[in-house]
């Protein structure tokens, strides 16, 4: 799996508690929303970095194993992101989206999470344009088609939906809450 990240942190050869201490230090230098790859050889690091993420409110995206090396992906979550109020009024629930997807018609799903989050599980066929790239990539999308925008919890997709509406897209729906609660089919990037 090739995953695009903003920073790679080397914790190879380190044992508990060093991987989390180094992770804590390095995450301070990330911008909110950015993704860090932590390379560790300590087997404990899977349980520990998950627990650390839960305690600190950051998003543990997933891990891959490459021989001895475990690669962890963590996204820096800001407090603002969690509290943000959703403004785009045209919304759709996960159940409704699932019904559409199971139906006959082609449904366009736009996933605005970071590539690493997308890689670890997304709705089959979903287009991935991270929120931060939407401004320069929105022309890849068809203005006439209904677009269902999704993220992890509904906040980034709300911002993306507002942005697209501002660009003249008239059939944009924000899917709420988001992939965190999605029970339908998903696929991983190989």
């Amino acid at each position: 799996m090739q995953v695009t990240v903003n920073k790679v942190v080397d914790c190879k050869g380190l044992t508990c508690p060093m991987p989390i201490i180094r992770t804590k230090k390095e995450i301070n230098d990330l911008e909110p929303g950015e993704v860090m790859e932590i390379q560790a050889t300590d087997k404990e690091s899977i349980a520990d970095l998950k627990a650390w993420s839960e305690s600190t409110g950051h998003e543990y995206i997933g891990s891959t194993q490459d021989g001895e090396i475990i690669k962890h992906y963590i996204r820096k979550v800001s407090k603002e992101e969690e509290k943000q109020e959703q403004k785009h009024e045209d919304v759709i629930s996960l159940d409704e989206l699932l019904q559409y997807i199971e139906g006959e018609e082609k449904v366009t799903v736009l996933d605005v999470r970071e590539p690493a989050e997308y890689a670890f599980g997304h709705i089959p066929g979903a287009i991935n344009i991270p929120l931060g790239e939407l401004e320069k990539r929105f022309e890849e999308l068809n203005k006439e088609e209904p677009i269902h925008v999704i993220c992890r919890t509904g906040n980034r997709s709300d911002l993306a939906a507002q942005k697209l509406a501002g660009k003249g897209f008239s059939h944009v729906k924000n899917v709420i809450p988001g992939m965190n609660d999605w029970k339908g089919p998903t696929e991983k990037t190989e």
Binding site: G13, T15, P17, M18, I20, I21, T23, K24, W52, S55
Partner: protein
């Protein structure tokens, strides 16, 4: 904010790992951490002693295991704890008993009494004794 209050009252190498692993891990989840060093626990912050803490009797054979597992030396964990603003307090009464002065401890250590620790631990979410 989570607050963690720790009492360190033993002076062996294993004790040092228990204390500093939990303290630095707590600091890395943004907890406010305070350690009160008393009796033999003062060894853990003594400038020379903390670099060469004894293994428990009969456990000397673990030395190799520590090296093989690449466990960080206590020295490194102490400076880590300092860097992460872990509050370290040496117990005045036991310092007097053991004839120790503040300048014999690593940088960043304050001196205080039982009331100092209790005041810190009063509203702690987690209190641990090692």
């Amino acid at each position: 904010m989570t607050k963690v209050a720790i009492i360190a009252s033993n002076g062996g190498l294993f004790d040092a790992y228990k204390v500093f692993n939990i303290a630095t891990a707590a600091a890395s989840i943004d907890a406010e951490v305070g350690i009160f060093f008393t009796f033999e626990g003062l060894n853990l912050i003594h400038k020379e002693a903390h670099k060469n803490l004894p293994m428990p009797q009969g456990a000397e054979h673990f030395q190799e295991g520590f090296q093989k597992a690449n466990v960080p030396p206590i020295e490194e964990l102490v400076s880590m704890a300092n860097e992460m603003d872990v509050k370290m307090t040496a117990c005045q009464m036991t310092m007097d008993v053991m004839n120790l002065e503040k300048d014999q401890f690593v940088d960043g250590v304050d001196v205080g009494g039982a009331a100092t620790f209790l005041n810190f631990a009063r509203d702690a979410n987690i209190t641990l004794t090692f």
